[in-house]
Symmetry: C2
Amino acid sequence: MNCILLPAANFSLANALIDAPEQIEHINKILGAQVGDTLKIGQLGGHLGTAIIDEMTSEQIQLGNVQLSLAPPPKLEVTVVLALPRPKVLRRLIMDMTALGVRDIVLINSYRTQKSYWQSPLLARLDEFVLEGLQQGVDTIAPRITLQKRFKPFVEDQLASLITNRAIVAHPYSELSLGQYLQQHSAYYSALQPQSSLPSVVCIGAEGGWIDYEIELLAGQGCQAVNIGRRVLRTEAAVNALLGQWLL
Amino acid sequence: MNCILLPAANFSLANALIDAPEQIEHINKILGAQVGDTLKIGQLGGHLGTAIIDEMTSEQIQLGNVQLSLAPPPKLEVTVVLALPRPKVLRRLIMDMTALGVRDIVLINSYRTQKSYWQSPLLARLDEFVLEGLQQGVDTIAPRITLQKRFKPFVEDQLASLITNRAIVAHPYSELSLGQYLQQHSAYYSALQPQSSLPSVVCIGAEGGWIDYEIELLAGQGCQAVNIGRRVLRTEAAVNALLGQWLL
């Protein structure tokens, strides 16, 4: 937690209330903060800033002198279409994509997504993982997350409308590397805006990647398959390594 | 495990023996492989290839028709100097850096590294985490890992000899972004070899990052501080996002 985010309802004038047990525990145990100390806070969906601890009990912390003047960092102009991963890694993936600033996340079914993953109770806790990611990345704006249990209808009927410039699908067996792809496209854009060579949609498989049928269906909607080398990475590592290009 | 790596001693002519419990469990439970099936294997420090399962017991798997003809992927020309992280994240960090192909890893003390981290029993198990990383990334060559319990002597006396071209230190409060840094340096190199603008040493802090004194000491040895945006990432996420630049 690099900042404490609170819903708008917890603010009134220059005061704010912390009542979430995880946040209170973090303030006590990790920060070791006391009455009079300054905290980095933010309003969910709003601005970032600071406040001073006025009162502390085991159940709530009252803040005063709330100053929220810093706008959150801009979102990354990218939609990540991610094959629903194992529940065990879902939390960290949502948290990392949120901290990185992904604007839109689509969790999609794939051949290698086990049906049981869609029954995971963790899917009901995405808001928690998003809050963790925002507090990690020091942002206030949650990504939009949508669930798509049917691969083919989503790809054929909805995907094209999400692609505002171009789209890629990460695929270790593609002959084209991401580096080659970015170089090809940077030639058409201003050298002063290297980010404009980045695609607006990135499709990432879960463990085991995509099957050929899925790659073909994605290609039919304009998704270029690209590799990031021969090495096979954990889904989390691949997501961060790929999205690292947006942080330059 | 995207391949099963065995030490040279387990090979003889066209045969090989799997006797590590984790590998046997993976072959049985995850792959569900049986006698006659082909496995992707590799020799630690050697080549990659395939073998056929000849015999299986609960304690060992005998392989025949061993063919090792594929060289491992090239290592990334980079040394990562990492502030020793919490034991909990050490395993995944070593595994990810290994899977990414980092050639050299230096685990170093820092102001925000707690002394107790150096007593962690996990530090005696780095070879295990490296093996996991190699089997994830499908590589056979382990990174060199060194431990440096004293920050200042290492930085002042040894760091410069590791810098074959340039060095950076990841620091969210730097005014220069990694993108600006790479653009500055790419001007001096061939556009056909964008990788040559990458530095040979990357210093990455643990949670909480580096303190000013450390940044100054690193700068004194030629490490340029760069940021990858305002957002604060988990150490694992930051390592993968940064090293993703080497995968292009």
